[in-house]
């Protein structure tokens, strides 16, 4: 690893950041989330914390821009230079800039987050089938209002899960119109516009008026890119038009003709020859998370590393299962020290031993059951089925097994136990669990069923419909028990309050997780209470929230909860 000359670093650990604008390529929620996760990469291994601010001067300003974007280091169009960041300090120092002539994704192609519909903000699943036809992009087929939609599962006909795709007819971002959609036609500078325009701006961002007259009302917003929008060229944000003619030849798909660099492009009108309007076709794009994590490394004081697999190596390469390289860890800890908290345990061999000997002493294994491999390591599990604090210990459930961490921080990330041995009636896949603090009863949820254990006696399985949950509710993904005989049941964007004694959900529910628990991912797959704080997990990360509903930490499940080395 390398640091900047003089070991430039922040003189405080509570770093603040501000997001100045957004890219039209991704939903603002996806961008916010990518930045949170990118900061979490560094906070997981240092004492640093990162807090987003909306007013005032932050340590790190984040912006998207293209070519000349206000500093002496212009970007260079699509590909090539992706982003840059300045080492710690005042003013522009510490800031991170991202080239908006790139196609920003999560590294594997266009990310289309839906809004409205019944997919609860899930991403489009491409391809999907609708009435027997396969669709690889959003479509307005089947609608009379022209709005673009997609299925969030492979088969709309079977699952009927859908949402609307980004479009200026649905919402705008930024500006001063609180996400209102465009109004067409609108008047700007005395001219009438029937679509988003870049007129009046030097930064090439497409905008529209959100009332019929911008000159009078001054209300505007930026247009989100559609999933078929071209990148760069001279038609950024417009969709390809097929077929189009290029040098008198007709094209029905993106082509590399006319380019020495073999990049795919298309015309955005029916005739390139006549209109000369074009752009690059969407490709895999660059992972905003990975690039941001790299740039934030600079913003914290790391220079480029010589280690090819390190995050701080200067070249971009996509990895689906990101882990911070030990070179990056050494670099950042050289500047800021290691994070505080329990000491990591010594590494243990992960190879399966030649002779299988169960070393776990708490549970005996019946000979008819195949022994659990004690080397099965919780640290190698990417996402758990469920996490819950039961009998004073945090339990991590996955595929019929569970691991525990006691409240004293004693780690059991190896030597898992079988769910079937502790709770014989349960299936192997647990969605969530909780222990009612008053009655000490333990509840488990799996799909639309739930079980109630009092000691070793069990009630269930029973349908969650008995609790008053609608038929559409497919599962309960997390539970926060409360001291007053209530428990909050979470299922993505909705949550219910359960009266544990009456075994029915209270009136006035479900409520929106987004509204009542602002700042945590609305698609958390595990939600639980631990040591009096709420945890919302997404991927390998958790967002910890105080009872005042303030997020006070974003961390790694693996390092911060399981104490993995």
């Amino acid at each position: 690893f390398n640091t900047f000359e003089g070991d430039l670093k922040w003189d405080h650990n509570d770093i603040t950041y501000r997001i100045l604008n957004y890219s039209p390529d991704l939903d603002p929620d996806v961008i916010d989330d990518a930045f949170v996760r990118a900061f979490a990469v560094w906070s997981a291994v240092t004492p640093l914390t990162f807090t987003r601010i909306y007013k005032g001067v932050p340590d790190i300003d984040i912006l998207f821009g293209s070519e000349d974007h206000g500093d002496p280091y212009p970007f260079d169009g699509k590909d090539g230079l992706l982003a840059h960041a300045y080492p710690p300090g005042q003013g522009v120092q510490g800031d991170a800039h991202f080239d908006d002539d790139e196609f920003w994704t999560l590294g594997t192609g266009v990310v289309v987050k839906t809004r409205f519909g019944n997919a609860e903000g899930a991403q489009c699943h491409f391809p999907f089938t609708f009435e027997g036809q396969s669709y690889s992009s959003c479509t307005s087929v089947g609608r009379t209002d022209g709005l673009l939609w997609c299925s969030s599962t492979p088969d709309y006909d079977k699952d009927r899960k859908y949402g609307f795709c980004p479009s200026e007819l649905l919402f705008t971002y930024g500006g001063n119109s609180d996400e209102s959609p465009c109004v067409f036609p609108f008047i700007f500078d005395g001219q009438t516009y029937n679509s988003c325009t870049t007129e009046g701006r030097s930064d090439k961002y497409r905008w529209c008026s959100t009332t019929a007259n911008y000159d009078k009302d001054g209300k505007y917003g930026f247009c989100p890119n559609r999933d078929t929008a071209v990148i760069g060229g001279n038609s950024q944000g417009d969709p390809c038009v097929f077929p189009f003619t290029f040098l008198e030849k007709t094209y029905s798909a993106c082509t590399t003709d006319g380019r020495g660099d073999r990049k795919l492009w298309c015309a955005t009108t029916s005739s390139y020859d006549q209109d000369r309007k074009w752009g690059f076709c969407p490709d895999q794009g660059y992972s905003l998370f990975l690039v941001a994590a790299h740039e934030f490394g600079h913003a914290l004081g790391l220079e480029h590393s010589d280690v090819r697999d390190a995050l701080m190596y200067p070249m971009y390469s996509y990895v689906s299962d990101f882990h911070l390289h030990k070179d990056d860890v050494r670099g950042i800890q050289y500047l800021y020290g290691a994070r505080t908290g329990p000491d990591p345990t010594a590494p243990v061999p992960t190879d399966k031993p030649e002779t299988t000997t169960l070393t776990t002493s708490t549970t005996s294994v019946t000979p008819s059951v195949a022994p659990v491999d004690p080397a099965k390591d919780a640290c190698k599990v990417k996402m758990f089925d469920a996490i819950a604090e039961l009998k004073g210990a945090l339990h991590f459930f996955k595929d019929g097994l569970y691991w525990t961490v006691s409240d004293k921080g004693e780690v059991a990330h190896q030597s898992p136990l079988r769910i079937s041995e502790a709770w014989p009636e349960l299936p192997s896949n647990i969605d969530s669990a909780f222990q009612d603090p008053t009655s000490k009863k333990i509840f488990f949820f799996s799909g639309r069923k739930f079980w109630q254990y009092t000691g070793s006696s069990v009630l269930g399985p029973r349908s969650i419909e008995k609790l008053g949950l609608e038929k559409e509710v497919e599962s309960i993904l997390g539970v926060i028990p409360r001291d007053n005989g209530k428990a909050l049941l979470f299922n993505g964007e909705k949550y219910w309050r359960l009266d544990v004694k009456a075994q029915t959900v209270d009136k006035g529910y479900p409520r929106s997780t987004d509204e009542d628990f602002a700042g945590v991912p609305s698609d958390s797959h595990d939600v639980f209470l631990y040591k009096g704080k709420y945890y919302f997990c997404q991927d390998r990360f958790f967002w910890r929230m105080t009872w005042r509903k303030q997020v006070d930490k974003v961390g790694y499940v693996k390092y911060d909860l399981l104490n993995c080395p």
Partner: protein, 88 residues
């Protein structure tokens, strides 16, 4: 039969940042931009270039040939962070 329309290998697309640099010019610019070579060269430019190429190849874990070989050119065309590799 209709004669096939010949599409030129490369045209200039409007609005695109295009540099018509040779490989050598492109390499020199890259080496200067990312801190491997000073803007002002000494008397022997060939020696400076070779030295800078070796430095870049070593830093980025490439074969240290001191030549503008395919691996080096490909690396120079790869997407990357704009922060210099050496110096401020």
């Amino acid at each position: 039969a209709p004669a096939p329309i010949k599409t030129p290998l490369s045209i200039t697309f409007p609005g695109e940042i295009r540099n018509d640099l040779t490989d050598l010019q492109r390499a020199e610019r890259y080496l200067q931009q990312f801190g491997y070579m000073a803007q002002e060269q000494g008397d022997d430019e060939q020696v400076s270039l070779r030295k800078a190429l070796r430095l870049m190849q070593k830093k980025l874990g490439l074969n240290e040939t001191g030549e503008l070989d395919t691996e080096t050119m490909d690396t120079m065309k790869s997407p990357r962070c704009a922060v210099p590799d050496i110096g401020n």
